[in-house]
């Protein structure tokens, strides 16, 4: 905002580099509105989680209550702490699923970017079509397929469908094409390195920022996934957080929804994601500082 006041136009400085540009008011206002629109619900969750059941609907919406600790301990005590089991399940599905899917994406993306083989473009086009396909409509067919293999209601039923992420492969291919120069691969071959070793020791480090992005995308997508585990799982010991909180909301007409537990649970469910972003952030900035080839 201070930029507006310091922007005294002098003809001499018009094109000078580094001169603070005038703040465009309209776009800034629009962005601020957008930020408010996105952040208000988050603020609501944070405030509502501090309210006890009595205060939730009766006090002013953004007036914090005094029941946060009580809510957390209620949540902890609900059915012998099943909430933490759900969180562990979410971590398992999202962690293992994102890791494996990241590995599959790296292999497939690298192969599609580096090797020339017949059918390469068709494979890529099929994958592109897969990017356009919302995973939601695949959930029921995947259920029927896994039922054939007798795998429904198992943890594998949630993990297997997320392994292949068309979007992840697409990103990995784009990233591999941009960051792994063909010359480097060629040079490694000249030096007698095998294809697996080239991928593992040369390509993967070069692709790392892209792979981290894929990992995070997949992690968040699986963490927030609802329909796939909803269809696949019937045992609530295997439920992820999304499903567990849903069962707290829908307990039949003769039981009121456990709003305070759900709101507190939703708030706690975001914390691991925030922590993950903070921890992994540093891998992003660590882009390939050292170029392998001079252009």
């Amino acid at each position: 905002m201070s930029a507006t006041t310091s922007a005294a136009p002098t003809p001499r400085a018009t094109n000078a580099p580094g001169r603070p540009r005038r703040v465009a008011l309209l776009p800034t206002a629009a962005l601020l509105l957008g930020a408010l629109y996105c952040l208000l619900p988050v603020a609501w969750v944070v405030v509502a989680a501090t309210k006890s059941g009595d205060e939730l609907f009766s006090t002013f919406t953004f007036a914090p209550g005094g029941g946060l600790l009580e809510n957390v301990s209620d949540l902890h005590g609900y059915r012998d702490g099943i909430y933490w089991k759900w969180m562990a399940n979410s971590a398992l599905y999202a962690g293992v699923g994102a890791l494996l899917s990241c590995a599959v994406s790296a292999l497939a993306g690298y192969a599609l970017a580096i090797y020339r083989f017949p059918g390469r473009e068709s494979v890529f086009n099929v994958l592109l079509a897969g990017v356009l396909m919302p995973p939601v409509i695949l959930a029921v067919p995947q259920y029927l397929l896994l039922a054939e293999a007798d795998l429904t209601d198992s943890r594998l039923a949630v993990l297997l469908p997320v392994l292949l992420s068309p979007y992840g492969i697409y990103l990995a291919r784009i990233y591999a094409a941009a960051s792994v120069p063909a010359d480097v691969v060629e040079a490694a071959r000249m030096d007698g390195s095998g294809e697996w070793r080239i991928f593992r020791s040369i390509a993967v480090p070069m692709m790392r920022p892209g792979l981290v992005t894929i990992f995070l995308f997949q992690f968040v997508a699986i963490w927030n996934n609802f329909l796939l585990p909803y269809i696949m799982l019937s045992d609530d010991e295997k439920f992820p957080l999304t499903l567990g909180l849903f069962t707290l909301l829908n307990q039949g007409s003769n039981t009121p929804a456990l709003y305070t537990l759900v709101i507190t649970g939703a708030l706690l469910a975001v914390l691991p994601l925030i922590a993950l972003f903070l921890v992994i952030q540093r891998f992003w900035s660590l882009d390939l500082l050292s170029g392998a080839v001079k252009s």
Binding site: G53, A147, S154, I231, S234, N254
Partner: protein, 426 residues
């Protein structure tokens, strides 16, 4: 180092695989799975498991609602449905027409007399088959703020005409308060009110369905509420919103028509009003009658997927007729039992804590429940309900046009069944 990472990944995958593969044992013990949402069901089933070591039941807790019906139908198509499911009454036609629920009439031949004919008719769907056993029911009652009724000198209405008069009187003595609201978000309540007036929305007659939502009973109910809403004698905002909670909590709405489960809802929605409510029979269309509708209620169905139909039916019978099981269901799950002999005394001798001021709460309920009208559900209740939400939502907002809204609901429901290939007339 890379190899190690790979090995860890592979080991994790293996561990996950072994975790997933829990199989059934073959030591002669029958193992049944039961999808249910009622809270405390695990504790009730534990009683059965203790007494029946050779028939072990595992509860898999689900979220209630239309999604569960879809999930059950999908699982049945894949041949992976559980042995038993908890099903709302209005879902039974959907489950039965998808061949999900098994006919257990031979296994439960002698339990019919434990239930009222109106409830029993909901699990037979008007046929000779028995598709489920009734578990709980939600007869409609008139809940009102006893303290405010006294303060404003209002009488508890016994007929709908008196109900309208009460709304008018309240409007005069306290213009800032409403008697109640007409919520266009809760088709279940409207369905219950129509049942009380004698509506039979879906009926079967020799291999074809009849849809009769826009009939005399429905028009009577919708015209009644249209008048109240048009004159601004009742509110037109939906229920179960924070604003509604606040209106109840602050006494800006002083009555609520709801199922017998209302005390639990009021305890969360209006915590400051504890001990100030009372329950009375629903106002009647003709003075001196005892008719009510239902909102909510569920049953226990055995699926066609089960390999142990007799054992599953035996468990369902125990769960819904045995005194010990019903007492546990009432105490653990807070249900109102469908079995008539479980409705007084025992676990229901005391009123719900929120209604401690009304010691005869459950006696009142038991009398009302005697007059619960039979509900007639069809295979596309969800379509009819969403048509209600759309059509009546806009009508309630305009405070006019309820008659057309009812016609739209009828047409939408009929067209949907026709499109799905049902033989249907209206």
């Amino acid at each position: 180092m890379r190899h190690r990472a790979f090995a860890i990944g592979a080991a994790t995958l293996l561990a996950v695989t072994t975790l997933g593969g829990c199989g059934s044992s073959d030591d002669g013990t029958v193992r049944l799975t039961y999808w249910a949402w009622a809270p405390g069901m695990e504790e009730v089933v534990a009683l059965w498991n203790e007494a029946n070591p050779d028939i072990q039941v595992t509860v898999k807790k689900q979220a209630s609602g239309d999604e569960l019906v879809t999930k059950t139908v999908t699982a049945a198509q894949a041949g992976t449905a559980p042995d038993l499911v908890q099903a709302e009454y209005q879902a039974l036609p959907t489950l039965a027409s998808n061949n999900v629920t098994a006919d257990i009439r031979a296994e439960v031949a002698d339990v019919e007399e434990r239930f009222t004919p109106a409830v029993w008719q909901q699990v037979t769907l008007g046929t000779d088959a028995v598709y489920a056993l009734p578990q709980d029911s939600g007869p409609l009652l008139f809940f009102y703020r006893a303290d405010l009724f006294e303060e404003f000198g209002l009488d508890v209405p016994t007929t709908w005409d008196e109900f309208a008069d009460t709304a008018r009187e309240l409007n005069e003595v306290a213009p800032d308060r409403d008697l109640t609201t007409f919520s266009a978000n809760d088709a279940g309540l409207f369905a219950g009110l129509a049942q009380q007036a004698g509506a039979q929305w879906w009926t079967t007659e020799t291999d074809r369905w009849r849809v009769a939502i826009d009939d005399e009973a429905g028009r009577r109910v919708s015209a009644f509420w249209e008048e109240l809403v048009a004159e601004e004698l009742v509110d037109n905002q939906p229920m179960y919103t924070p604003a509604w909670n606040q209106a109840l909590n602050e006494g800006r709405q002083i009555a609520w028509i709801a199922g017998v489960w209302a005390p639990g809802t009021l305890a969360t929605a209006a915590p400051d009003t504890e001990g100030r409510w009372a329950a009375a029979p629903l106002p009647q269309w003709e003075a001196g009658e005892n008719a009510t509708g239902s909102w909510g209620g569920s049953s226990t169905a055995v699926t066609t997927d089960t390999d142990h139909l007799p054992e599953a039916a035996e468990f369902a019978t125990w769960l819904n007729t045995d005194p010990e099981a019903l007492t546990a269901l009432v105490q653990q799950g807070g249900i109102y039992p469908a079995a008539t002999d479980a409705r007084t005394g025992g676990a229901l001798a005391e009123p719900p804590p929120f209604f401690a001021n009304q010691p005869d709460f459950y006696e009142t309920v038991a009398e009302v429940a005697e007059g619960a009208a039979p509900a007639a559900w069809g295979p596309n209740v969800t379509v009819a309900y969403s048509a209600f939400n759309n059509a009546f939502g806009s009508a309630a907002g305009r405070r006019a046009g309820f008659e057309e809204a009812l016609a739209v609901m009828q047409r939408t429901t009929f067209d949907d069944m026709d499109r799905l290939g049902f033989e249907v007339v209206q």
